[in-house]
Symmetry: C2
Subunit: 351 residues, 2 copies
DNA sequence: GATCGGCCTGGAAACGTTTCCGGTGATGTC
DNA sequence: GACATCACCGGAAACGTTTCCAGGCCGATC
């Protein structure tokens, strides 16, 4: 926190050359070798390092990209952040983490705040979307990439995934291993992921392949473990006419963990008596006990794609909006298996 | 991504007043009401929003703070990040996430890069520290707050916690509930937390209160679940002369989860046959099955304190370096309990 | 030998903002 | 009525950098 930093002007004086030449020498273009050596030496002596603000002002580039999510506590977003960081850092870009807040209005505010130009681009994964937000994004003074649903018609760059199809994969898997009464623990329906996943569940359970089985939805207040626990308690306290639930599809790994905890409370073994699937294929799901069968939506991959898209855009390539889709795929682990033939004792068999 | 943004100059012209007055009117000091109204109107018409870069250049303030950690994948750092964000955002500060890398050299580079002045302050939680880093921090052109060990003698602001004492609390708890052969799964000893926690374990297990019991350390490659799993396999494959391990202290919640998984592999029940403690009291530990007894080091609290410290410092209050200490405390959950009296059937001695 | 082209350099402008400073008009006080 | 005080306004400088432009030098070409 010592002496104020050296400026380019000071380096120029020290080297006895002009300001322009100094800049060129350090920047590396159109300067003689002698000049470069001289300036480099002076810069080293003074411990010069270029001022990012001055440079930004002149170049109209901040070398910063913002990443905005509602809840950085959700491991999915952390994975995205890591991936984004890995792509951007080698290009000299910094990542600013922002919070969208939980309402769409606050997200609109955030997008508008890009007007102050502290950032060259934005990657945002909004929980909720509406026309105002779409419009704000379209008007935004810097490239914006949305991670979430495809916004092709709206002409906005997006990296999406078909989470509805992902839920379909989970349901298909459960049916295939012999589950007949499937509950669905979803998040709020007015969120983009909540709506998509509900569509996926409804479609999968009204398809011919599902005929004769039972399906039922319970809605959690949000996408956290606590909400999942509460919702699962409600769901599992009901018993369909055809018999107790033997599987639960959760819209989220966190919700799934809540479901498993609820099952534990009720003395239901997982996967023996209750198979549970999650979604997002997070690290926490991998290490949970039992490890979580989960639909991977390629969080890291989506993060990387979004970052690459922003990078392309700030390199002022003006192209029509691009849509990148990442296919979901199911990763089967311990939390799903064919139902155990229960011995009369109803105690859990060997581990 | 439409028309280029309006500048203050344009607002001034539109309002028919000087640039200086425009700035004052918007900034709110020393302008008549009439002037304010007039300028506000013009600004609104043009959709003006002030340019952060121009402002930064002039004010020598970026309204950004960097938070640097080795591994943002570790939930502890996510909790800190959240807390930091919550403190800083209301003051108009943005948070830039940076990676220190795993070597001390790359951390030094990062601190040096502050010289480019893109940020008003830095909060860093380095895994490893050496004299070069301390010196770099002391020379840094902006306030730096270290989360980790106390750096009082070095004259650096720090927010620390006595993790050694925390390990002591864990050991005391285990002894109290009747555990006699305690393993310690630690991370690398050349890291700051690794070293401190080892000291804590060694001190606790060589204290009179521990006399007659067995203690043994196994070192994991890093602080992740996978490393914890591997280390626990090694540890539990050994059997002390006095009998098998009945408790494991892990230096970290992630390591603890690895330990529990290893116990599962070996058919050991937790907490019945093996009690396990973690450290950091992370969200994932709370929801794990069994939920984790863990030593809280107040991650969120430390984040908040560090953020507040940076905030004070950028408000150019020049005071001697401050040391804030957060006391550790044990949170007992399911993963520790008195040993179960094993029915004769279970082959305990043979293992 | 004059001209042209190419390489290199220095001067100066520009990016958008805040703030110092001097000036003007109005108001209040003796 | 003169003078000090005050509130407000406009001009201009400054923050640190990059880049346009013009000019100087040198070698090569005709």
């Amino acid at each position: 926190m010592s002496s104020s930093r050296a400026t380019l002007m000071q380096v120029a004086e020290r080297a006895g050359v002009s300001l322009a030449s100094t800049s060129r020498a350090l920047h590396g273009t159109g300067a003689s070798q002698a000049m470069v050596d001289r300036v480099r030496a002076a810069a080293a002596e003074l411990g010069y390092s270029p001022d990012a603000i001055g440079r930004s002002l002149r170049m109209k580039r901040t070398f910063q990209v913002a990443f905005a999510v509602a809840d950085i506590g959700n491991p999915v977003y952390v994975e995205m952040l890591t991936a984004i960081h890995e792509v951007l850092a080698p290009h000299g870009y910094r990542v600013v983490v922002m919070s969208t807040g939980h309402t769409v209005a606050s997200t609109v505010d955030l997008v508008r705040s890009l007007g102050s130009g502290f950032v060259d681009g934005l990657i945002v994964s909004p929980l909720r979307t509406d026309d105002a937000l779409v419009e704000a994004i379209r008007q935004a003074p810097v490239p914006v990439v949305v991670i979430g649903r495809s916004l092709e018609k709206q002409g906005i760059d997006s990296v999406s995934t078909d989470s509805a199809a992902g839920i379909g994969q989970a349901v298909a898997h459960l049916v295939k291993i012999g589950r007949r009464r499937i509950g669905f623990v979803n998040g709020p329906l007015d969120t983009t992921p909540g709506a998509a996943r509900q569509r996926g569940f409804d479609a999968a359970t009204s398809a011919p392949a599902f005929a004769g089985n039972h399906a039922e939805t319970e809605r959690a207040e949000n996408f956290t473990v606590a909400a999942g626990l509460a919702a699962a308690r409600r769901l599992l306290s009901r018993t369909p006419a055809s018999g107790p639930f033997d599987a639960v599809v959760a819209a989220n790994d966190l919700l799934a963990i809540g479901v498993i905890r609820a099952a534990g409370e009720l003395g239901l073994s997982v996967p023996g008596e209750l198979a549970v699937t999650g979604m997002d294929d997070t690290e926490i799901g991998k290490v949970f006990q039992p490890s979580l069968t989960s639909v991977s939506l390629g969080s890291a991959e989506r993060g990387r794609a979004a970052a690459q898209l922003v990078l392309d855009r700030v390199g002022d390539v003006v192209e029509p909006a691009q849509q990148i889709a990442i296919g979901p795929h199911l990763v089967v682990r311990e939390s799903t298996a064919p139902p155990t033939e229960l011995p009369a004792s109803k105690e859990k068999s060997a581990r």
